[in-house]
């Protein structure tokens, strides 16, 4: 275990230290931040911001998030299947076809309902 994951831990430590060290170095070199009224405004191409940025956004983003959960879980089920396919029998393929068939029915339904269309 340690043989395999030991180097990963060393790598993690070094890879995590690097960005933090860079940020620390920048802190030593850079000039002090001097705020002015214009500097501390959110950047909106020179126009004075009207409202807070965290407003309401289109529901599309939420639908995509839900679709992602469904289809990513599907791929997770496919991973072990793909590795165990080393002793291929027709049964395995049919089994996967049934699993995918159920999902594809849902996929077609989503498509026809327009969940995959943006706007």
């Amino acid at each position: 275990m340690l043989n395999l994951y030991g180097p990963v831990l060393i790598f993690f430590a070094l890879a995590a230290v690097f960005p933090l060290a860079t940020l620390g170095l920048a802190k030593l070199v850079r000039p002090k931040f001097t705020p002015t009224p214009d500097k501390v405004m959110p950047y909106e191409c020179g126009i004075t911001p009207e409202s807070d940025a965290r407003g309401r956004y289109t529901v599309r983003f939420y639908i995509i998030a839900i679709l992602f959960v469904i289809f990513d879980v599907e791929t997770i089920f496919l991973f072990p299947w793909a590795v165990l396919f080393r002793t291929p029998e027709l049964f395995y393929l049919v089994e996967m076809l049934v699993f995918l068939g159920i999902l594809i029915v849902g996929y077609i339904w989503l498509w026809r309902r327009g969940a995959l269309d943006w706007v």
């Binding site: 790598f11 170095l25 931040f33 950047y43 990513d72 291929p88």
Partner: protein, 331 residues
Amino acid sequence: MISFKDIVAAVLTVVGVLFVALTIAAGLIWVERRLLAVWQDRYGPNRVGPLGLFQVLADTIKLLAKEDWIPPFADKPVFVIAPAIVMITVLFSFAVLPVARNIVIADLNVGLLYFLAMSSMGVYSIVLGGWASDNKYSLLGALRASAQMISYEVFMGLSLMGVVLVAGSFKLSDVVEWQNRNVWFVLPQFPGFVLFLIAGIAETRRLPFDLPEADSELVAGFHSEYSGMKFGMFFVGEYLGVTLVSALIAVLFFGGWLGPVFGLAGWARTALGIVWLLVKTFLFIGFFILLRAALPRPRFDQLMSWGWKWMLPLALANLLVTGAVVMTMSK
């Protein structure tokens, strides 16, 4: 028992991979600008040092010396940590990349899964950075980025399933050894290669899929409010991602360290393997840059529909056909 020699070898590999990955990523800042200049019929950076090579150094010094701007309206801890996350997650992925036979930081038996997991983590830095900035452009860019990355992530995994199915392993060195015995995966798994390439471009948010940044409409999107070294980290993180995806395409579909050996043996052969991997990686990096020079940016709705209506069914079809072929061949 772990011997002293093992520890030295492990540390050398770790430092070597980290050094090479970061050097390539930094060097790409110069390579990309020069190559784009060639394709756009102009010079590009050619003033600092020979051929403009020290441009990277000059840029780094400039970024380090910039006034650090943390917006008073921003969520400060999240704002600071977000750019570090993008670099760390991409760097972590390099741990499973086999650079030559028996030279790899950790030849995990879940190598590909580990890579997919790490690449999904990358989306956090974008969302957190965009959200913490509290800027309309940033938040919109972050939302777009997350929608795009999770959509393309679904079939990124699926596109690799064909390779896993044929090679019968998630271990990246097993995948290369299979290609050593048979043929490079680009031939039997050509659809998988194309799908993975497209997914890789979308995951690294490179043109033509750079809608989260979209300079002309979102003024750099999720990192509008970033300056100095924090901006630099998003930048280097992007180049690290390009390097990683290119290297993975080389390993998974183009035989990794395999290539003509010219009768060499021992360490010389290993070194030649590393050279082959670097050559293949740079070919794909060049291709990534050529895409940026050649293609316009699609609309966001087009991007999402391609992902869900074309790429996902194609990836599933590729997997099923591969399964059927493997079954009939083994009979």
